[in-house]
């Protein structure tokens, strides 16, 4: 019987800095598997965000730019426009993509840049110590919403994927999760579709992935996964948005 499971070539052989139960490790692996499967290791270029995934370039064995906070899609626009035959993708968190980088996100999408975006929504700023993110749920406690997020003062969680789906330049928007094996497999399929859209020169594709942050949700890894399935999906429903 052959070997069924091994490290993808596009994933470096190092231990990540991510916390136990964090979704980034799963997602990094999925991206690497898809790069291998599509045979694009030699043409893929990643743009890492500022946030927990800031050193993603240490984990993927491909060319990578590290962008300023929120500017990943502007950097990706420059990379892709001058070499349209390369496969350029950004990997961004909720603060990066939907707060400080909102303008870059919306305008890259609206220009229909032929890019792939992996948007990791874990409802919190992880790198800086668990502050409120644009996607933090109502009542969710964070370092900067110590009594829980209130709509009256902090507004509602931002549904940026639904907003992006309105734009003519966007070809595909999908929301998935990594909270169960079934959802992981579906996320893998969605990310692969988003890369294939780019390879087929269709335009801007984004996959929003609901991902666990046990550390700043103050939950065990198992409870964190359950919280996605039971709470997060109520506000951020899974499925194809466009």
């Amino acid at each position: 019987m052959g070997k069924k499971y091994s490290r993808p070539q596009a994933l470096t052989d190092v231990v990540t800095h991510y916390c136990p139960g964090c979704g980034h490790g799963i997602l990094h692996r999925l991206v690497a598997e898809i790069i291998d499967e599509l045979g694009i290791r030699g043409s893929a270029i990643a743009v890492a965000p500022v946030g927990c995934a800031v050193v993603a370039y240490d984990y993927w064995d491909i060319d990578c730019a590290e962008a300023a906070h929120g500017r990943a899609l502007a950097v990706a626009t420059g990379l892709k426009r001058v070499q349209p035959d390369k496969i350029v993708f950004t990997y961004q968190g909720d603060g990066d993509l939907a707060a400080i980088g909102t303008a870059e996100t919306i305008h890259a999408a609206n220009r229909g840049e032929n890019l792939t975006v992996i948007f990791v929504n874990n409802a919190v700023y992880g790198m800086t110590g668990g502050q409120m993110a644009p996607t933090t749920l109502l009542s969710q406690k964070t370092a900067t919403t110590p009594r829980g997020r209130q709509a009256a003062t902090e507004g509602y969680p931002l549904k940026i994927s639904e907003m992006l789906a309105l734009l003519n330049g966007v070809v595909s928007v999908e929301r998935t999760a990594v909270s169960s094996p079934k959802e992981v497999l579906n996320t893998r399929r969605a990310i692969k579709d988003a890369f294939m859209n780019q390879m087929e020169r269709k335009g801007f594709s984004i996959v929003e992935v609901l991902s666990m942050c046990p550390t700043y949700w103050d939950k065990s890894p198992v409870d964190a996964a359950r919280w996605i399935a039971e709470e997060m999906v109520k506000y951020f429903p899974l499925g194809k948005i466009k």
């Binding site: 030699g42 270029i45 800031v54 064995d61 730019a65 420059g78 990379l79 426009r81 305008h107």
Partner: protein
């Protein structure tokens, strides 16, 4: 074949960039540099390049970060308030050692100020501007012709040193029209190997373009690499122009459009027998400190004239190290020093007694 056309400074910088092999330009509308962005929108796509009107100054500078990381010759342009917005990206470009050309057609500040010419971004341009220990090469044209020539040079220097180069123009130089002469057959500066570029890791180890170094000693290491580069730039790339400096006993120091006005005054006073000269820094960073230091051993009076309330004058004082008297005249906020104002200041300086200095 040489060709002479009537062009504005803004258009001249655009034409020079395209002829220097510019591949990617991103810009955002702001007066008084709009002609340059419009020139790029019209010309660049039909001459093999890519033009994007970005959604913001931040996006523009980060787009050129990306395109430069891919190995392309890149440029963005703006005017003072827009350049302030770009500072984050400029700092990242410096940290990641990306070649880039940035045009600043300066206008009056602080804040929104107004759209009239100024030179009040000297500190920002030459001392860093954004966070961290870094420098840009800063080139200061004083004519439409030089706007063209120095923009071409900016691309050469950017590639040669893996550095961002700022062409520091102003609203007067950008808007005015003069004859511009260039060789139509002149090829772009030769392409430079960019073995660090992000082109896909086919059959090689991956490249990373970043300004982040998580381990503490690594940032210091990167900073030492930058400092070494800056020392190399200081030793090789200083440029300046001198008029009547051979026998001058007093020198006006001015750059850019102010140097043009000062030159007219200096020429007139020379005709009257006054031993006045003009020293014009062409590179504001690296500043021609050594040449000024040498001059200060025989020229004992310097008058610095700027469209600011005294920025470059600090570098002149640091250069002469007390060996000569340095006086200053400046206007800022849209006011341009007139010939008569500069003449008055020169005569004042000439007639002032030299202070005896202790050792």
């Amino acid at each position: 074949m040489k060709k002479t056309i009537l062009y504005s400074g803004n258009e001249a910088m655009g034409e020079a960039a395209i002829r220097a092999g510019l591949k990617f330009y991103a810009g955002y509308p702001i007066t008084p540099q709009n002609e340059l962005t419009a020139y790029m929108a019209d010309q660049l796509p039909q001459r093999g390049g890519i033009f994007i009107q970005s959604e913001s100054e931040l996006a523009a500078i980060n787009m050129i970060f990306g395109a430069s990381a891919a190995g392309a010759r890149v440029m963005t342009s703006s005017s003072s308030p827009g350049i302030s917005l770009k500072q984050e990206g400029i700092s990242y470009i410096a940290g990641a050692q990306l070649p880039a050309v940035i045009i600043n057609v300066m206008r009056a500040g602080p804040g929104l100020g107004n759209i009239w010419p100024a030179q009040s971004d000297y500190f920002q341009a030459t001392k860093g501007g954004g966070h961290g220990d870094y420098h840009l090469i800063v080139l200061a044209p004083a004519s439409v012709q030089e706007s063209f020539d120095l923009t071409r040079l900016a691309f050469e220097l950017a590639d040669r040193h893996r550095i961002a180069v700022m062409v520091l123009s102003d609203g007067l130089l950008g808007q005015m029209m003069e004859g511009l002469t260039f060789d139509e057959e002149l090829a772009p500066p030769p392409a430079v190997e960019k073995p660090w570029a992000l082109t896909g890791a086919r059959d090689r180890k991956p490249h990373v373009v970043c300004s982040l170094f998580m381990k503490r000693p690594d940032v210091e290491k990167n900073n030492l690499i930058l400092q070494k580069k800056y020392r190399r730039v200081v030793s090789r790339e200083v440029r300046y122009a001198e008029t009547f400096m051979d026998d001058a006993t007093m020198a006006v120091v001015a750059y850019g459009s102010v140097a043009r006005i000062a030159e007219a005054v200096v020429r007139r006073l020379r005709a009257k027998g006054k031993r006045v000269g003009l020293f014009r820094p062409v590179t504001l960073w690296p500043f021609p400190a050594k040449r000024l230091a040498d001059l200060s051993r025989r020229v004992k009076k310097f008058l610095v004239v700027e469209m600011s309330y005294g920025q470059m004058v600090e570098d002149v004082r640091l250069s002469v190290e007390g060996r000569a008297a340095v006086s200053f005249y400046g206007r800022s906020g849209g006011g341009v020093p007139t010939e008569s104002q500069i003449e008055r200041e020169i005569l004042k300086s000439l007639s002032a007694p030299l202070k005896r200095r202790g050792r």
